[in-house]
Assembly symmetry: D2
Homo-oligomer: 189 residues x 4
């Protein structure tokens, strides 16, 4: 991405009226140095529920929080009555969401909440990835497939986890083979 096109960190405004799964209010500034993945969703948005929330949960489990942090942002722009805080709290409980989730702040008369406007989101689900400097590196409306999200994060996190590489033992001459649901393997004897 051309750096000149990147939305600057200073332009970002995370305006949250209530946090879940967080002891204190979270600001993007205090997270500088880490990759931040913001998942904007609505609890009654079908694609958010079936695809994006499960993806964010996996992402949250895959990386240490001091390297990459996942933040859910509840950006309600429709059915406001049905998606209030007590409903979101039940949703977070039922879907076993453990990462921080912030409720995007509403200003009176505006159906679109404040952070959703400042981040220029077109709807839900939306995924925003910020690099360690706080610049936006991915800004996508609609579900991002796993490969594309992995690719985007791979570009920002440069050290390969050592677990990524299998120890490759030598393969002996006498062997048997067997397939199971994961693979067909050579068994040395």
């Amino acid at each position: 991405m051309d750096t000149s096109q990147a939305m600057k960190a200073s332009a970002l405004d995370l305006s949250v009226s209530q946090w879940f799964n967080a002891k204190n209010a979270i600001t993007l500034e205090q997270l500088r140095g880490r990759i931040i993945v913001i998942g904007a969703f609505q609890m009654l948005c079908p694609t958010c529920v079936s695809q994006s929330i499960p993806q964010l949960i996996k992402l949250h489990q895959a990386f240490p929080e001091d390297r990459l942090i996942v933040i859910g942002l509840h950006t309600v722009f429709e059915h406001h009555q049905a998606m209030q805080s007590h409903a979101l709290e039940a949703f977070i409980h039922e879907y076993r969401i453990r990462f921080p989730v912030g409720v995007d702040t509403h200003e009176r008369d505006d159906p679109v909440p404040r952070t959703m406007r400042s981040l220029q989101l077109r709807g839900t689900p939306s995924t925003i990835v910020l690099d360690a400097a706080g610049d936006i590196r991915l800004h996508r409306f609609g579900h991002v497939d796993d490969f594309s999200l992995g690719f985007a994060i791979g570009q920002l996190l440069q050290t390969v986890p050592t677990s990524e590489r299998d120890a490759s033992e030598g393969v002996g001459r006498t062997m048997q083979s067997e397939c199971d649901v994961n693979a067909c393997s050579i068994t040395n004897s």
Copy 2:
């Protein structure tokens, strides 16, 4: 990945007795400068057929060949009679595989083919990713999920495709909203 641990390019030996979808024999050396993804498979390995081959096909379609090249390697170590060249040719046709596929060379009396030994593969499917310098950066036995493969390739291909970033139009005040199978969107009026 610690560079000192990386398997060196010079150690790599791609020994192929027959190529499909390739005009000439392919050597890894001639591909220096590109990312190379080698998918080792057997046409009768269930996980290869259901998961790895479809993933390699998507990968082949997603990147220009001068940046990243996908190579299939048919590493038969069992049921040799059932997976000969004419059977592989039918398999490639039926599964609509368009990337180059090489048949790993067998030496007499050794059920494990030559490249499979030199790459120290433990079975199928296996995925090997080489960087532009020809060093191995991912070496995995069993199906690699889309996120992990995207992550590994993202670390090696540093330029974000411009298509990755949506043009983010401003969001007006008066709006309607609608959900479809992909997302819930704001419609400006």
Copy 3:
């Protein structure tokens, strides 16, 4: 099923405080002569949302309503505040549910609603299938897989739709063959 074990129609008590997608209140008695499939769900129950609701939608589309009728029953026994009528209405809209959905009646102080008790449901999702006489023929807690549900309904609806049988043209001598994503077919020439 042993008829003596079947729960009798007279024992059934569909107690609904509000209907959606229905002009008038629905009683099981008025539906005698048709197969009735009751899907008990909660809008914040993950398995209901990901599996049962889509299955009920497909079922609703597959059969004419004078043969088989699908009824959703919102049996809230937890998070009552989060799953009130206005929230359910938004849920029905977002998930494009077109079949009738009734809200199971709550009595003061009892977290479990009335029909859920009278039908002896253990939780959500639950699926109840009644035959044309109004007797319960399937009474299952947890998602029912498509095959089992099809099997249960097949036992109650005895006429095979004519569309089920392909016109089987003769297969000529000269032919070509081609596979696509659905099948490999013989093409007569």
Copy 4:
């Protein structure tokens, strides 16, 4: 299905040159009294491998053999060289197929095998269901979804397995609730 349209048992000709997973040759006549599901496939037909074979395996496990029997029929009409008996044997081993599989007989010069012609199959996968009298009740080209197959078999097997009906214990007054990956349940205390 109009009985007059049903293909009569006497017209059926199961011509098999070799059986796998069967001690003796199988004739349809000796199976009268049971439901017979014939799955016609080719080992290099992608939809057969990804959808029909797994469905036949589940079907084989779901019913006792004296009620319903699953028979695989290898109806090769293309790539004959690649799908010979030794290849099929390896395929049956790798995909863990335990039901009987017959190789449809080829006559010289005819690419379409004999049973495929007599059953008037249009390609693979094809599913044929015969009732206890040996009459064809389902004759379908292309993958049959689980619901439709369950429905067809449900119409032919009239006794509901007792396991289909849950024992429905009464639901007490004091309770807790919990959701897991399968369902949300009421826990009596």
